[in-house]
Symmetry: C3
Subunit: 356 residues, 3 copies
């Protein structure tokens, strides 16, 4: 498992993808090169995250990873906002949320569950995450409902969007205070478990400083490669006749979350399910509670407010994902079959988006 | 309790109903005869199921019963599909799902709860069943949502229906692998409990072979009587001015599930709540994850695909039933009041369907 | 904390408000006087409730408080029904339900959580309350769904409303039987906890008889002051340009629930979270399962049946509140952050109602 993330392969695939991008090779070729590069870079990131998590404790490690993993998405979405492509932004935000809750979490539970019969994690944290997800769904659902059943002026829609965005960011900041400061210990019993396992594990390969350095480096590399890859998508969309909704919500999201994928699955297979869930759920929460509201404020400061009104289909996809994910994680215990269920829902949504 | 399922009463009511059917007596009389016969045949089935469950362990017994109980419904629905009565099929599937989740489960909890203050069962199984129910709701809800908010060609709707049906069957087969093979022991602690109770119970009346033979025989008899009874419904519908939606979703479903009713309630009263819940919930899951998809594929092979798009009211009825049932069983502990709540929701839906 | 509910302040603010009302002073002044009086009267009620709860056990005390707290609302709504203002009635019922589930519960969790890291209460009761809330939502949601997707005659709508109202009242009465008689002990372990704490607490100031007398007196005073205050709202609505929906669902509800607010928050801060939750959740359940159905029957006997069909926005507000509240209380453990989440949802709904 560890051998294939060899430095030479990592550097050469990254370099090839970079050359392909800057030399403007054929887009299909660029796509393949950067897709391959993403696999290695994300593997590097997963490795670095694990090392940092080793020093920082599982939860902080998971949180760091979610933050770093979403940095690429935030940058990409920011450029989309700048060009006024609000529908594409919302589609990719939707895809990111459901991709994390269904695909990343589903693969983690499935892969981890095949190796370990039952995997457990902090049930209190799972419950809190579930409640936070419901708040995020409500914050997206209520404005859309009012927008569709009442005549609201554009000004009021923008005002409502900004207020809801502000409340979401405030909730997110309060969550950081809660989970990192006032109730840190209370949510940390998973880390305690992993500490007990430490003697059985291999010693960390990298020093603390090096691990952090590599984490930053890997995140930057993922950001670059993701962007190169996304840059080829428009051409591919036309060549293969795919809808923008499908591309935004599935292809972009899958590639953009590749880092979380590999990191979460690796952790799940090492029976650190608490950290894997933290990555998948934490990442989707961060999209809904932090990335989306920040983009709304960004659009406001650029002079044309992006409203928070998602389409009915996007809301259904998000709502459905939250309900099944919440139902599955709330008992703090998972198995391969629950992973399969999440993947089945992801496929149903994927096929539906594809056929629209 | 056991004396009234006397062989003579069983055979004579069954014979009378058969004569009434084949001699083509008045339909109202036929209806009454077959309704009475159903009570005894279903009682026989419940008895046989219990005996087999005694040998097989509670969960396998519950599963067998759900399978056998739905055999009649599958056959009836198959003939309806053959005649192209797709709306009636969906109404009876809806009625079967909500009948099991609200009426069968409600009566079991209520009757069991009056005898036993609190009844407990495997909380892990309850959680998994809840997640499976949500997946079933999502699989029915998402296509309807896309169908109603986007213009999709009939071909694409059929394709989507077949894909979703395939995913549901795959989920169901994987569930069998999970619950029967990889995690059998993990879900079996209820059986373990019942084994401890065994010394206190009466010895099984029938041998293992005879119990299995009787289970098959009883299921066949239930199938016949149910069909005779259903055959009289059209006339009754006209005579008493009932809507087809109400007849399909309530009368047919109640009669078709009579077997599960009596079996589940008997088990609940004997404090084998795990098996009773397995019958009620397992049966409704089997309808949604197996019977409905099989019917879609059957219609496809007959040349005219039945789509998976249920009406808004049917989806609301199913969704509402799943939410309240999930909320009630998820703590693995029940009482008479929770049974009453399920029955209240069943009545609200019944009155609403009746008045439409 | 106890000193400010001095008898002289209580009596003088109440008297001033009474004089203002009967001497017909300026409405804005009346509003301010009665709003101040409400604070003191509600404080008196909270104190009396606590004393009675001391003798009666936490749960019965919480139930009594919910009953007494809703007396004012029932009287006010009754007069609105008498004048045929059905939309205002439904808006204020909606506001009362969400006000209890989000504002009262949210402030209790937040204030209690700041003083006590984690607060626990009977998880069985929390689960049952959650199921009851879902039944209430279903009972309001199903008729509206049928009404909006099918053509139903007014007579049938009225009939459906009366039947559903009857089922809700029956469910409520059965709940009293269940929680007070058949399963009293089972739900009482929170009281047991508080009994253990008793040695550490201050001795009750009032005798049992006096406590009960003061509870009745305080409730009557709250009823009067609430009514005087509500009487000034129409003028204020016009003066400050607020919509009736917002006033009915937020201002009236906040003021009408002031008693529950202070009582629940006081109990939460004293770490009697079981009683605080019982007040907030019990109060909203009583509105949905008892007050609303009684008003429907009252309107029927007055000759013009008020139907049970709430608007889409009201249903969304109620449904959303129930889901987040259920998600938060179902583990029987709360903290300040969960209170904050409830308040955030309350703000989102409030801003949305305000902007419509």
């Amino acid at each position: 498992m560890k051998k294939w993330i060899s430095p030479s392969l990592l550097i050469s695939t990254f370099a090839l993808s970079a050359i392909g991008h800057y030399a403007n090779w054929d887009h299909t070729l660029q796509f393949i090169l950067s897709a391959v590069a993403v696999v290695f870079v994300a593997g590097f990131l997963g490795r670095a995250t694990e090392s940092v998590a080793h020093y920082a404790g599982q939860r902080l490690g998971g949180f760091l990873n979610a933050t770093f993993g979403n940095a690429a998405e935030l940058i990409i979405a920011f450029f989309l906002v700048k060009e006024g492509l609000y529908d594409m932004v919302k589609a990719s935000l939707t895809g990111s949320i459901i991709g994390n809750l269904l695909l990343v979490l589903g693969l983690s539970l499935f892969a981890g569950g095949l190796k370990h019969k039952i995997q457990n994690f902090n049930v209190t944290l799972a419950g809190l995450n579930g409640s936070l997800m419901i708040v995020a769904v409500i914050a997206l659902f209520v404005p859309a409902m009012f927008f569709n059943t009442h005549s609201i002026t554009e000004n009021d829609t923008d005002l409502l969007s900004l207020i809801v965005a502000g409340l979401l960011i405030a909730s997110y900041l309060a969550w950081l205070v809660f989970s990192m400061i006032t109730h840190k210990k209370f949510l940390d019993d998973v880390t305690a478990d992993s500490d007990e396992e430490l003697p059985n594990e291999h010693a960390p390969v990298w020093s603390k400083k090096r691990a952090i350095l590599y984490l930053v480096l890997a995140t930057v590399m993922v950001g670059f490669v993701s962007e190169w890859l996304v840059g080829t998508l428009e051409t591919l969309t036309e060549r293969f006749g795919l809808s923008e909704l499908f591309v935004g919500a599935f292809l972009v999201a899958i590639i953009g979350n590749a880092a979380e994928h590999s990191a979460a699955i690796l952790l799940a297979m090492k029976n650190k399910m608490g950290a894997a869930v933290e990555i998948a759920v934490g990442s989707s929460l961060q999209i809904a509670l932090f990335v989306a509201p920040v983009l709304i404020f960004a659009s406001y400061f650029m002079g044309d407010t992006m409203d928070i009104v998602f389409t009915a289909i996007e809301l259904v996809a998000i709502g459905v994902s939250v309900f099944i994910a919440k139902s599955i994680i709330q008992d703090g215990s998972t198995n391969w079959y629950e992973g399969l269920l999440l993947l089945a829902v992801y496929l149903i949504l994927g096929v539906s988006f594809y056929l629209v």
